[in-house]
């Protein structure tokens, strides 16, 4: 694949000089000057809305900078389009995967450069051969099948497709915008191995992530953005989390995980022998004031289980009880009525009204409480929205700002705000901190703790192990649609969780204790 892009050439592979970018009133970038040397992984960090994605999109030719210039291998270039950027050896893995739904994974990966036979005929056999060999070589053969249709991919697989698109073409600069936000540890490891190999071959790698641990494992340099400005560049070996966080948020963060709660005994949510198309015989309890984390690898079936618990996926057999009463789950409406709040995994596809305002997006789930005689009180709605914007520190110019114009992390906060606005008794959060910066994460963890302390039973699905371990009172591990084990907070550590998540011998599936 990627040939050696001559690491011996002088100067950085890519540099930006005094880049500015304005979006109708939002000053996203204000004078960024930064270079990306060959053979180096440069991490871009910063709070949600700091401008990381905007910078990456400028590098990709997707946005034109308002001022400043981009230099590719020392030469100033005007990048008119992503295709243009590609021609100059720049490849970007965007924050939100863009998948073509009704074609195969193989076509999705090689889109725009499909192998041809003479006469523009598609070389279909060649395509699949190449796909298979690339998957093998890159180490993702187990994670995704070349024939699967784009529309049937899980979020993690969608992200993999974006990664594969970049890795299967030649490039001198590779930019990853939060590639791991929905990958689990295992895939992350494989990806890191690949990135290191590419770096050693002389590529310049740009890497955006909110996961502090990843950054320190992977990056050579850390550049921190704050409010559209460069807050500092540090050598990864000569800095620490504390300093980076200070650069990002301008202050020290105290403990990431708060814990002011104590679980009570009353079981609020009981899952009994639930089986769906992809999940079998799940037993699970969540108590009042308890946080249970569901861990597992990509495709373990956690999201499916969550969807079943909120009535969005039909339950074939088994029972769900809330407060001891069996629940008829025909549609998500039944779950909402029973006091179950659910924040799904894919915010764009499943949760957000992208062209609606922040206020609309928060208020839409509590209209029954905002209305009088079916007329929605605009003032009440505004107050409610403002309350959550303040509480979750959602960075938005106004309550009437369109949600699609918010940064990814802030969009996630809007999703959470909508669920919290209903004050649910049970909260199911599928990857709640996906793409959220460390400051906001601490905020959300504190919020989860607060809610639990107030008695809410919380089920969190997360692919980030530190989050699982830090948050949970109990960790339930799934693999292949089954629960493979349950660990108390005291026994849970990374190895124990991973061991259960990858326990390949499933002859005797362990199940959660039916309390």
């Amino acid at each position: 694949m990627t040939k050696n892009p001559s690491p011996d050439l002088p100067g950085p592979a890519l540099a930006v000089e005094d880049i500015h970018k304005n979006f109708a009133g939002v000053h996203a970038l204000r004078g960024i000057t930064l270079d990306f040397p060959r053979g180096t992984v440069t991490a871009l960090m910063g709070e949600n809305g700091a401008g990381k994605s905007t910078l990456i999109k400028i590098i990709n030719g997707d946005h034109r900078p308002g001022r400043g210039r981009v230099l590719v291998a020392g030469t100033p270039r005007v990048l008119h389009s992503p295709a243009d950027a590609r021609r100059h050896g720049i490849r970007v893995i965007p924050q939100e995967p863009e998948i073509v739904p009704h074609v195969s994974v193989a076509e999705n990966v090689y889109i725009g450069a499909l192998p041809r036979k003479p006469g523009r005929l598609l070389d279909r056999a060649g395509l699949y051969r190449r796909m298979r060999s690339d998957l093998e070589r890159l180490g993702f053969a187990h994670a995704i099948a070349p024939e699967t249709l784009g529309s049937r991919l899980s979020p993690a697989q969608r992200q993999l497709v974006e990664i594969l698109r970049a890795l299967t073409t030649e490039a001198a600069v590779l930019a990853f915008d939060e590639p791991t936000s929905s990958l689990s540890e295992h895939e992350v490891e494989t990806l890191f191995g690949l990135i290191r190999r590419l770096r050693d071959r002389g590529l310049a790698v740009v890497y955006v992530s909110h996961r502090m641990r990843e950054i320190f494992r992977l990056a050579d340099r850390i550049a921190v953005l704050r409010d559209g400005e460069l807050a500092g560049v540090r050598d990864a070996a000569r800095t620490d989390e504390g300093e980076v966080v200070r650069l990002m948020v301008g202050r020290d963060l105290s403990a990431l995980f708060a814990r002011n709660r104590s679980a009570r005994d009353r079981v609020v949510l009981e899952v009994r022998d639930v089986t769906t198309d992809d999940v079998s015989h799940v037993h699970l309890d969540v108590r009042e004031g308890e946080v249970v984390a569901l861990a597992g690898l990509v495709g373990a079936g956690r999201s499916e289980l969550a969807a079943a618990l909120v009535g969005d996926v039909p339950i074939r057999s088994g029972e769900v009880r809330v407060d001891g009463r069996p629940l008829r789950l025909r549609t998500p409406r039944d779950a909402v009525r029973a006091g179950i709040g659910y924040a799904p995994e894919e915010r764009k596809a499943q949760a957000l009204f992208l062209t609606g305002s922040v206020r609309y997006n928060i208020g839409v789930a509590v209209l029954d409480r905002l209305r009088r005689f079916r007329f929605v009180g605009a003032r009440r709605e505004r107050l409610l929205a403002q309350e959550f914007v303040d509480r979750l520190d959602i960075r938005t110019p106004s309550l009437d700002h369109e949600v699609r114009k918010l940064s990814g992390g802030n969009q996630q906060k809007v999703v959470l705000a909508r669920r919290l606005a209903r004050r649910p008794e049970i909260l199911i959060l599928d990857e709640p901190t996906r793409g959220i910066d460390i400051g906001a994460k601490a905020e959300i963890y504190r919020l989860i703790d607060e809610l639990a302390a107030a008695g809410v039973a919380i089920l969190v699905i997360s692919s980030e192990l530190p989050e699982v371990l830090g948050l949970a009172d109990r960790v339930v591990v799934m693999q292949n649609g089954r629960i493979t084990g349950e660990l108390d907070r005291a026994d849970a550590d990374e190895e124990a969780v991973l061991a259960l998540a990858m326990a390949f011998d499933l002859a005797e599936p362990t199940q959660g204790n039916p309390t």
Binding site: A351, L352, F353, Y360
Partner: protein, 347 residues
Amino acid sequence: MTTTTDAPPPMPATSAGGAHVRALPRRVAGAVGAQNTSLIGALIVVVGTFTWLDDGYLTRANMTVIGDTVAVTGLLAVVQTVVIVCGALDISVGSQAGVASVVSAMAFTSTDGNAALGILAAIGVGIAAGVVNGIVIVYGRVNPVIATLATLAAYKGVAQLLAGGRAQGYVLGDDFFIFVARGKILGLSVQIWTLAVVAVAVHVLLKYTDIGRNIYAIGGNDTAARLAGININKYLVSVYALAGVVAAIAGVILTARTGSGQPTSGSEGLELKAITAAALGGCALKGGKGGVGGTLLAVFLLGALENGLNVVGVNSFWQNVAQGALLVVAVVIQQRRNGERAVGLPT
């Protein structure tokens, strides 16, 4: 999609919300929206041009003519707006109006001239037709376009069968129907009042009630709407029923205007006019976007244009060319003002 289109979109929630913090001029501009500003501009240009070409154009009498002419289309366009905001489409509205027209005249005749019963019968039939559409779509899982194309044909057949292919009854001996056809209230014709009342009601429904918000939610992202606990199916069936009711009102007006129940004459082709107006008025056909204001402006723009071309006596062949060309020009100007980048399909 998200990254290229930086155009300011006319959002459901945006206009009403920021109101009390903004200054009045901006409030007005905000409430009107960029789309509507362009339409108002186009309307001014059209009216100006025809006034200059013929002084019979900008007269009270001719304005009334325009109003009456667009009343039926306007009703259907307004209710089509609701359907489109849901992310659906109702192509059968014209046929529904035809059935309602025939039924109103036949019920009127067979009850020896009871206008109220005629209208009630028409509305009942409209609801039934709408509910059938909704059920076929939601529970039969038939794509709205195909489903309503099918009922477009089916309802047309029903109207023809009921009427035996002939205009039915004669209603202009009845005071009520004469009132609908020629009456005026406060100087405005009854037909325009009907349109105004329906339009205001639908506008309030869409913008100020939770029902309206849920409709925008369904059209904006149906998965999210479902997960938020909205009973999408109930909403969709109700919206189609509403379309049926409004189509029935349009049918009654048709009966009054022409004097008898017309199975197809006068209602054929209305669906395209209604959809054109809604789309020109800023409804996104994929749902979640649009409003009554824009649609009405578009209806009046198209009506003013068609009337003007006839006032100045343009040959009907040239009218087709002119209407098509002007429609394109209006939208192109509107879009150019947005300064959107020209890549791929516009929304």
